[in-house]
């Protein structure tokens, strides 16, 4: 299979602390695209969470900053209390627009703005959570011919969010958490072998 992608967006809610601590350390240091994450949480919980992920990962893990240029090999985490949006010039912007599905940051907002910018070169992933946020974003990514993945609900700490994403019929692959990074890395290698 040939899939060339420029960015990976991940949405995760309840159970995310553990899930991201499993997932992000499995990405190689030279992962060729940025990984952009919305984890639902309260404003003010950021520092410990991000430091801890950064210490355990080969990717650089940091909070996404307003107007920051989006770079490969880096995992960006949305700040608590703000929506995270992707701009056409491949920078981030933030907003305090109303919460979506009770959430700010919202997965839908990240996914929809990323789909607008990256189109078919986008991978969207929904992990554990007790919310339906992200399902609309998955539809938008699919409409733009991007690739979509849901964590296998059997392996999710809370299965509601992946089940809701799967129910949109817009999910391409359902994978256990641990297999997602190698799956993505193989896609990149396949692309390069064939090009």
């Amino acid at each position: 299979m040939k899939v060339d992608f420029s960015a990976v967006v991940i949405g995760v809610s309840a159970g995310g602390f553990q899930a991201l601590h499993t997932l992000l350390p499995l990405f190689p240091k030279a992962f060729p695209s940025p990984v952009i994450v919305v984890q639902h949480r309260m404003a003010g919980e950021d520092d410990f969470f991000i430091d801890s992920l950064n210490n355990k990962s080969r990717l650089t893990v940091k909070e996404a900053e307003e107007k920051e240029e989006i770079r490969p090999g880096t995992a960006y985490i949305a700040p608590g209390g703000y929506h995270l949006l992707v701009e056409k010039d491949h920078t981030f912007s933030l907003s305090v627009d109303e919460p979506v599905c009770y959430a700010r940051p919202s997965i839908d907002v990240l996914f929809e703005t990323a789909a607008r910018v990256y189109g078919s070169h986008l991978v969207g992933i929904i992990l554990t959570g007790a919310n339906s946020d992200g399902s609309n974003g998955i539809k938008t990514i699919k409409q733009g011919s991007g690739l979509t993945i849901a964590q296998d609900p059997e392996t999710a700490e809370v299965n509601l969010m992946p089940l809701s994403a799967i129910a949109t019929h817009c999910i391409d692959f359902i994978l256990p958490l641990e297999e997602i990074p190698s799956f993505l890395t193989n896609l990149v290698e396949d692309t390069h072998d064939n090009s």
């Binding site: 900053e65 929506h83 949006l85 992707v86 701009e87 627009d97 109303e98 703005t113």
Partner: protein, 281 residues
């Protein structure tokens, strides 16, 4: 440019020609999202179809403008910010016989009433003049009324307490069925006025400017213009407070400010070298 970008471009041009509002230097992603939200509410199919009613129907435009710009917030948003304002900035302001404060982009008014309450509790309210500005007259009217849904009061009360509030929050408002209305006395020294950051000029001689979570909606050029405007509107040693994820690092006036509490984006405009602090009274 794709079709959607062309349509948005023409729509923003039409708004500027007709009403003078300039959105061309707004950050794109959020603006586009909000235009799509208006489109969905309007029942039209394409963004360009909204141009005719925008030009010819003032009421349609007012609703569109609110959708585009208004953020409902809560009182004492970011309690640590208000706590530090009280601890670090207020004691300095107390040394003045009279202070001028500018609350920028007040929207529905939650922030300016929070500020009024804080100044009152610190004994500063009666010697303060607070300018509360926004570029949207509809929200300025709402802000002036100071009426909020009752369901918002729980969060606001919790924020107030966390921010170091000294009384019972309930003493500042009257509850009436589904609404709360804030004490009329809080408005006594607040001047509500229309001011547009994208097009209007300096608002002079301020001791304190609060502009939180407004700059994030602008591109870098407009952000820089606005930060210069704030710089020019502040007295020497005056304070500038931005949203906790906003920055002045890129701006041409960065060297004119020192951080008082960097994490919470409280800055002080540096003393001119020729001026002594005593000239501040």
């Amino acid at each position: 440019m794709n079709n959607e970008e062309i349509e948005i471009n023409i729509l923003l041009n039409a708004i500027q020609l007709k009403y003078g509002y300039d959105f061309t230097q707004y950050a794109d992603a959020s603006l586009t999202r909000r235009i799509h939200k208006s489109l969905a509410d309007s029942g039209y199919n394409r963004i360009s179809e909204m141009i005719t009613p925008l030009i010819h129907d003032k009421e349609f435009f007012n609703v569109f403008l609110n959708n585009l710009t208004v953020n409902v917030t809560e009182m004492f948003r970011d309690p640590p910010f208000f706590h530090n304002l009280r601890e670090k900035v207020i004691p300095y302001l107390k040394t003045f016989p009279f202070i001028k404060v500018w609350s920028v982009g007040v929207a529905t008014g939650e922030e300016v009433y929070s500020l009024a309450i804080l100044l009152k509790e610190e004994g500063l309210y009666d010697k303060a003049l607070i300018y509360a500005t926004d570029f949207n007259d509809t929200v300025l009217e709402a802000a002036q009324k100071g009426i909020y849904p009752a369901q918002s009061i729980k969060t606001s009360t919790r924020n107030y307490q966390k921010s170091g509030g000294k009384h019972s929050f309930a003493t500042y408002y009257h509850a009436d069925y589904d609404s709360v209305i804030f004490d009329r006395a809080l408005k006594k020294n607040i001047v509500f006025a229309n001011h547009n950051l994208a097009t209007d000029g300096v608002f002079g001689e301020m001791n304190l400017i609060l502009c939180r979570n407004v700059l994030i909606y602008f591109n870098r050029e407009l952000q820089d213009r606005v930060l210069k405007l704030f710089h020019d509107s502040l007295r020497t040693n005056g304070f500038l407070c931005l949203g906790t994820r906003e920055t002045i690092d890129f701006s041409t006036v960065v060297d004119a400010f020192v951080p008082i509490k960097k994490r919470l984006r409280i800055f002080q405009k540096k003393r001119d070298q020729t001026q002594e602090i005593s000239d501040e009274g």
